[in-house]
Symmetry: D2
Subunit: 426 residues, 4 copies
């Protein structure tokens, strides 16, 4: 049986560059969501978006001012009706029902970019080729642009070959993966509850180009938490003794957070990624806020990190007579592999273009709240897995010169394409 093959490597690369040029952070993916919605609806997919696929009770880490700014910036680029559909939340799920009996399988990618300023080095490929970020201070520095392009290409192929397939496909475009924010509200909307299989893929991750890893280990559990300190302002020249210095509390807490001890039973991570304190040069700073994340190889170790973090922050506030409050902003858990899915990935990889080596596992050492969606699928009786498609990188993830090998988009596409035919081929 012959399938149409309308998706070229060039198409994937061009789409990825288009996405790359307009990076939007979590819960702000207005242009990104609209691009997907228009593409999928044109292809005949049933498209759900915004609060249709996001349970709003579980939204965390949504920043009003930032959202307003990106929504405003999107107004020139997006159909107002689509913008309205995204009020309340970004995020898209496209559903293709063949009408023929068969399993329901899902593929997951992420919409959001990072608050990283893209390199302007003339050797940096996006600069050289003219597709660098058009939004100062933000960049697709994690590969999500590539993941989206592959799923959009897959959508095109699926539409073109719909008549030769059975069952149902769901293409899931998750908002707010950075910060582990989108997974939980997507899961709690029930949108993945009917999946027999959920497949997730990621480019890069320090795996060499050509290698595909079919079941990474050491997905770190993580908690994202904001701390907000409140002190008392005073004139730094006349009455310095009256102030209660929130900037000092936050600085002290920062040093102590980064020094939470390693754990003898497994890996840990901690980061204070953002800190803003104070009102003006000659006023004792009365406010401070910080964005923190902790990670642990298991939930118990992650809890140890979180409890230590809270104790240190509270003590630091007490030192300086300040108050402090905390708010959990996101979370991810670890990954329990399904052998069948791992085997499917291995089969798929072996036939994928550019793949030269298939490995069972690696240490992931990071977090991806895809794990929340995968666990949800597993809890409902489905199976789920995570594949890493290696690539030489110009710089590591989240760095200003991050850039993967663009031809690897073909490799990831081939894997997904194989899985569709395996499950849904007539």
């Amino acid at each position: 049986m012959a399938y149409l093959e309308p998706i070229s490597q060039e198409w994937l690369i061009a789409k990825r560059r288009e996405i790359h040029a307009w990076p939007e952070p979590g819960w702000c993916e207005f242009v990104s969501s609209a691009r997907v919605i228009e593409h999928l609806e044109k292809l005949g997919f049933k498209v759900l978006c915004g609060l249709e696929v996001i349970n709003k009770d579980y939204i965390r880490g949504a920043m009003k001012q930032q959202i307003a700014k990106f929504r405003a910036a999107a107004q020139d680029k997006v159909d107002p009706k689509i913008l309205q559909r995204l009020d309340g939340a970004t995020g898209v799920v496209g559903i293709l029902e063949t009408g023929r009996p068969g399993p329901t399988i899902g593929f997951l990618c992420n919409l959001d970019a990072l608050p990283v300023t893209e390199s302007t080095d003339p050797e940096h490929n996006p600069t050289k080729e003219g597709y660098a970020s058009q939004i100062p201070g933000y960049m697709h520095a994690c590969g999500h642009d590539g993941h989206q392009a592959v799923l959009m290409g897959l959508a095109s192929w699926l539409a073109a070959n719909k008549d030769q397939l059975c069952g149902t496909v769901k293409l899931i475009f998750e908002p707010g993966e950075e910060g582990s924010r989108g997974g939980r509200p997507l899961a709690q909307s029930g949108i993945v509850d009917d999946l027999d299989y959920l497949y997730v893929g990621h480019l890069g991750c320090d795996v060499p180009g050509g290698e595909v890893v079919t079941a990474p280990e050491k997905f770190l559990c993580t908690t994202k938490v904001d701390f907000r300190f409140k002190g008392t302002p005073s004139h730094a020249g006349m009455q310095p003794e009256v102030g209660r210095n929130a900037l000092m509390a936050a600085s002290t807490a920062s040093l102590a957070l980064m020094a939470i001890p390693r754990h003898g039973q497994g890996m840990t991570r901690v980061n204070v990624g953002y800190l803003r304190a104070g009102e003006g040069r000659n006023v004792i700073a009365s406010t401070a806020e910080m964005q923190v994340e902790v990670r642990g190889e298991t939930e118990a170790i992650n809890n140890y990190m979180f409890n230590e973090a809270e104790a240190r922050v509270k003590g630091a506030a007490a030192m300086y007579g300040c108050e402090v409050e905390s708010e959990v902003m996101g979370e991810a858990i670890d990954f329990i592999k399904d052998d069948e899915v791992q085997n499917n990935f291995a089969e798929a990889a072996k036939q994928a273009k550019y793949c030269t080596k298939v490995s069972d596992t690696m240490n992931f050492n990071g977090s991806d709240d895809a794990t929340v969606l995968m666990r949800r699928v597993q809890s409902k009786g489905g199976k789920a897995g995570y594949v890493v498609v290696g690539s030489e990188l110009k710089a590591g993830h989240h760095q200003a010169k991050f850039e993967f090998e663009e031809f690897r988009l073909q490799e990831l596409f081939d894997i997904y394409h194989y899985l569709v035919i395996k499950h849904l081929g007539a």
Copy 2:
């Protein structure tokens, strides 16, 4: 000889409340400047403003984004022609020439407010009486609103009594006093070079209500300096070891700056009033900036503080493999009193309403870059002085509940009024 007395205490209080409600920070005083310009021009003053009175080579600590925001907010409230005159700098000087021979005397006040969020406590008078700040995050919490009201009242009186006076009066409305930014560029414009006398007054300053201090001591020399750290971002989960953490460098520097030792020879101060670091929660922070001020009882002690600050900041950057640059943003010096001016203030205070006690001196323990203007006047052969009009305060300067006794505006007005007649009375 009889003067007209058109200025009532009620007028001063009402004007002060109008000013209080629209607080603008340094170099952003668009509405404030326009209010003065219109008032003075209506009264027949010759008015210079913006770059006519500000030497732009000496402008420091002007923040583009903040200026743009306040300029935009002023567009509904200010004549566009006036706004144009303020492009490049805020600040106003009104000149009244009587046409009769006599000395040239100046009075100085400040236009700017502070980045302090005003209290919403119903007992806080601006809240109770409905004249609280209409600009979230900013507040006239130092008394500059009162100083302006007094000089505007004085302008009215001067205009009404112009025919009975000789010589020339300059009313100087300095921008950016907070941060010690406006004094130097005003001085370098030459606008005070022809003054025979420069009189400066301040309300509050922890002097009890009823007391007037005619020559405060211990004006602290100060340097305002910004430090900017640059590190390297990386993914906090996968490659934490690759990052060069600017947030940690800045936190470490903050603790060390606040711990610069006292000086055995005189008073010192130090404050890290503002700190912003990092790009996102899961990225090792690669940038940080902080706003710092040091003070010293003498220039030598202030230099000691500044040198210590630089050494500590540089060492902290080195600890974390970061680079750091510094930029001086403002400065003030100490105050050398003129006995004649002190005596004039004493005479004036004795006849002022509400004044119950005249004191020679006090420890000012703060900085006011009026000192830069005063030193300029003295260097050109004129005389200069600084008077503090005490007031009971609801909370100290720069605090969210700061509020002076409004009837003290009359007291300061009476002092200035007396000085005008003493020098320029026919």
Copy 3:
């Protein structure tokens, strides 16, 4: 063929308690060494000790005052001739030559105790049974007392059965294992160069009682380093600004050292275990010294940790105008397993009393400079291995209530005993 079995579990326990009561830290094991020397010489072993088995050029972390104190304390308990033999270094190697051809095999244990104050809780077994530490501030809190007892028991058995054995046995009692100090100078003396097999065992290590692990993984490479800061004293009241504060430099360094980032490629550790700074309450502290250790899963990761440590310490010194020098005090490397040795341990464990489970591996997550001796043996063509004999513990290693199950001494003895017969049995 029948061997004599003169060593009872009771003998091992009694000997272990005798050792437990007199804990001596590294390079101070005078009583401990003498006890071994007398026991082995009485049994007919050839005994080398002190500088005969220690290459003095590689001695690190020997503290003169501490050594003098423990040598003085030993004078009442030890034959003066033996004390003389230990001048310059502690440490003992006993050699039993059967005179019959055969391999040379070695067993390693450690002589030193820790600067931990033993618990006086009446439920703590050494307290209850009356064999608690007699030296305030020091304790055998790592199991070295047990390791010594087993080798001394093995010596007795070897002597009694010498005529039924072939080849040569070396029993090695390493000084200064804590701090990874003794391994290198022992290795550099050449004393293990002729070994065909080197067997090392450790009790506890968080392995459950009954389980024996035949080839632990994740021995951390480690560097032990001292940092010494030098500043300038001054009177803290009159001239605080003149001092260069070494205590502040060291405190700042401590916080930054404990906050060296985790490494994405493998485990790390860091500890500032000791800090002493300052001369007196009212003097700006002009000296500080700290004892630090870093660890890494590989030599590259350990080097990363060490380089970060040096950079942070140097930057901290610069912040406060101090000088700093560093001295490496000890080191350990990772462990490359020999399959044959692992299999021998497994065979031996299966027949050992109390052993209920034999495991291939575990994460050791600590350091033991036995690895330096093992690598030396391997580099000369021999084989080496490390076995962990699990035990329920009352508290973790290095804690005040540390106590293993004493009957496990029999289990370790049985393993060693089996290995002797395997290699040297007639």
Copy 4:
């Protein structure tokens, strides 16, 4: 009337050098006390010492081990009977009763030295002239050696001229002035309750040579306090997460203590002069102790400093899950001048050899618990004062090269001598 003049400048200098060579810290002044006792008894003074002049309920900051060490070192140099008299406390008061009616006047000096290592620079006078400290780590680096020499010379003169004097003289040799420890227990013994006048003098204090200051201002109130942290030890490699790190708590506290804000109402000081933490390199540190002092221009400001210190230390302990306890170790208060005493000092200074200028006041900016004794005298109806005899210094007080001009001993002697004759001359 003619007095005998048996005391030469050479005698004073020689005596001062003898004292300089044997520096003993607070509560350890065995040789120093004995030297005074023998000298005074030989001259016919009634001598009280140890617990006869020290109220033991008020002894603070006495360190047992240090005392034992210095007592042992004194055994070769001091008559055992005298050593016995000093059991329980050091300190001496010599009383000369003329038997003729007249006032009772006292002179105060201090016995103790500092934990400063004396410079070995060949240009340092004690090194060059061979009278440098014979006790490593300790030094008379504050001038107490000179003060003692002057009072011993005064004793000789008083004895020689006793028949020409009336009234009573008390020569008070205070132990433990450094750390502000000796003043309170001396005062509480009642030994100064009968004084009509108490005269205290100090050499140096940053006053130029030739100048004498008759009533210094800004004696800082001070509190000396020890903080002791208690955490939990654990193995830094295997179980770092189990430890509660007292070294980190203490380091964090140190940084925060040195950063207690300045006070708008007056001078402050703070110092962490000594810190010891941890047990060993590879153990999470479970203990830490620090010696701290705070000072304030008034008792209220000193209390502010002390309260801030306690809050910061407690918060730091909480951050790391540690406990902390504090113990006040010493205290001094401010100085209320008596005009009559000031005038007496001025008269006396004008006739003193080498004095070229008499000044009313200076900023002392330090603490001296002579203030506790002076306040006691004043509370009983007597008068008290403090004179500073300026000197060029080779290095500031408490520094390793501190050295005053030795001929200034004559100047201080002349002042005291004049005061004796003024009050008690026949």
